[in-house]
Subunit: 310 residues, 2 copies
């Protein structure tokens, strides 16, 4: 198998933790309804490929996300997986369901903009934070780690460019409420490296250290990996990515998917940055899932490596 | 139209010259034979979008590259274009044809590896350099600028990783022969940022300054833009790219195309780096060409912007 030559660069972390979002964020955005048994097999394969954090599912009401309506069944099928398996919860009821099934990590999802808070949660930014406050408190009481997703950190389809101060302010409130980590989402993929660097620097100035931050880039304009490199150069060591680029469609005019985990691992392997991930096994897992979805992976690395292997 | 927020970053050039390779390198790798009139219209549109260097065609024997067999006709159709219009020439006969049609810039194409020199030119690395020596000398005598393309600078499909010393050595010989600029090609797309940085640093140590260098990345593994950012951080200010990602196929399992010019301009616009290019007009030109080719552009920026516009 073709692999990159390993040549480290100065000023980069020795190790990066990949927060794999394919089974949740990826499959949530696929049209196909994937059976729980297939999802469970996929999560097993991702863990066997060396991923240590795999976001498994969401305890949102099935009416809103029918793709993940099988959360209970799935949790039982993956209780032997040797990885951190965070799940998304929208409210106390979702948290109770997740805790009852043994979830040890949860994530809540806030918005940096009023327009998206309204569209996604039918609430104001403040209203959403108030909704999450008791959820986070109860999770912390139960000894469960909490991640705060923050959408629209760079731009918003209704509001345009998002002021950095606005993203910093909501990040601060999520941390103050008890979140252990903030995942900074470029939900519409408009970020560029200077913007990434400036946001991270401003978060640092506001007292939020890089080790409380993760980056979550979308490849809508092809910028996800360059932005990720910028975040690593800044000092961030947790990166969200989606195996096989799940959630982006290779045939849609606009591929709005997450950064593909394989494209990320290719770069990190080349830089000699440890992830624990075996890119061959990861690619095989993504090819396997792409077959179930009946379409090729949008990840360039998956396409290149699977062409050579088959 | 959605545009990135402009946030500069330190340590980057104020201006980048894009060496547009779509009409030559891009169309050469498309299956479709595009009529000269369409190519000419495309080049006019690219110049109107603000591109100042547009590689127009190749004076290689039509037997080898039937896609560009109309070089003479095309040159006459674009003699009013207000841009630098380099053309590829393989030998003295090609040079004579190009000069007779008024070419003011040419490019020769060498290989950093023996395997690719053999496959592409049916010569050894030395044999190819010897073939180009009189071409470069004659071009310089005619006051014509010469670019040296160097393929397989990072990895080679037959030989694997290419030693940096080998790439540096052939670069040195191309410059010594009279080339004004070397375009460092990652022909199979395997480079990663540490490798890019190390090659550039080693070239500098060998006395080759960044202003004699251009970078030419392929997106086979999704690394092209991150590698380009690394080259800009190092000090390179000339970047090769292909409008609409021409030459890469969105349906092939492996998209081996060049970096898409639009994805590059999106990043440079976001960083406030001047290129003179209007991304809207450039995208419109690529969408227009994609219609002639009967398939969507593989550029993520083109797909995202054209979805919003139409």
């Amino acid at each position: 198998m073709t692999l990159p030559m390993t040549v480290p660069a100065p000023g980069l972390p020795a190790r990066v933790r990949i927060h794999e979002v394919g089974p949740r964020d990826g499959l949530q955005n696929e049209k196909a309804l994937v059976p729980a048994a297939i999802k469970a097999e996929f999560i097993h394969r991702l863990a066997e490929a060396g991923l240590t954090t795999i976001e498994a599912t969401s305890f949102v009401h099935p009416k809103w996300v029918p793709q993940l309506a099988d959360a209970e069944e799935l949790m039982r099928l993956i209780d032997d997986v040797d990885a951190r398996l965070p799940v998304l919860v929208p409210n106390e009821r979702g948290l109770d369901r997740a805790l009852a099934l043994g979830a040890r990590e949860i994530a809540v999802f806030a918005s940096a903009t009023e327009s998206f808070a309204k569209a996604n949660l039918n609430r104001t930014v403040d209203g959403a934070l108030e909704m999450f406050e008791p959820v986070v408190a109860k999770a912390k009481d139960a000894g469960v780690a909490v991640r705060g997703y923050l959408s629209m950190c760079f731009g918003d389809p209704w509001e345009g460019p998002v002021p950095i101060s606005q993203t910093v302010s909501v990040s601060r409130r999520l941390l103050d409420m008890g979140c252990d980590e903030i995942s900074l989402g470029d939900t519409i993929g408009v970020a560029t490296p200077g913007h990434v660097r400036e946001l991270l620097a401003t978060l640092n100035e506001a007292g939020i250290a890089d080790d409380r931050l993760a980056v979550h880039f979308h490849d809508t304009y092809g910028q996800a990996l360059a932005n990720t490199l910028t975040a690593l150069q800044h000092g961030v060591t947790t990166v969200d990515a989606s195996a096989g680029g799940l959630g982006g469609c290779p045939y849609a005019k606009s591929a709005t998917g997450n950064l593909a985990t394989e494209d990320l691992v290719w770069m990190l392997d080349g830089l000699g940055i440890e992830t624990g991930v075996d890119i061959g096994r990861l690619t095989a897992a993504s090819v396997w899932m792409a077959r179930h979805l009946g379409r090729p992976s949008p990840s360039r690395t998956v396409r290149a490596l699977s062409q050579k292997e088959t």
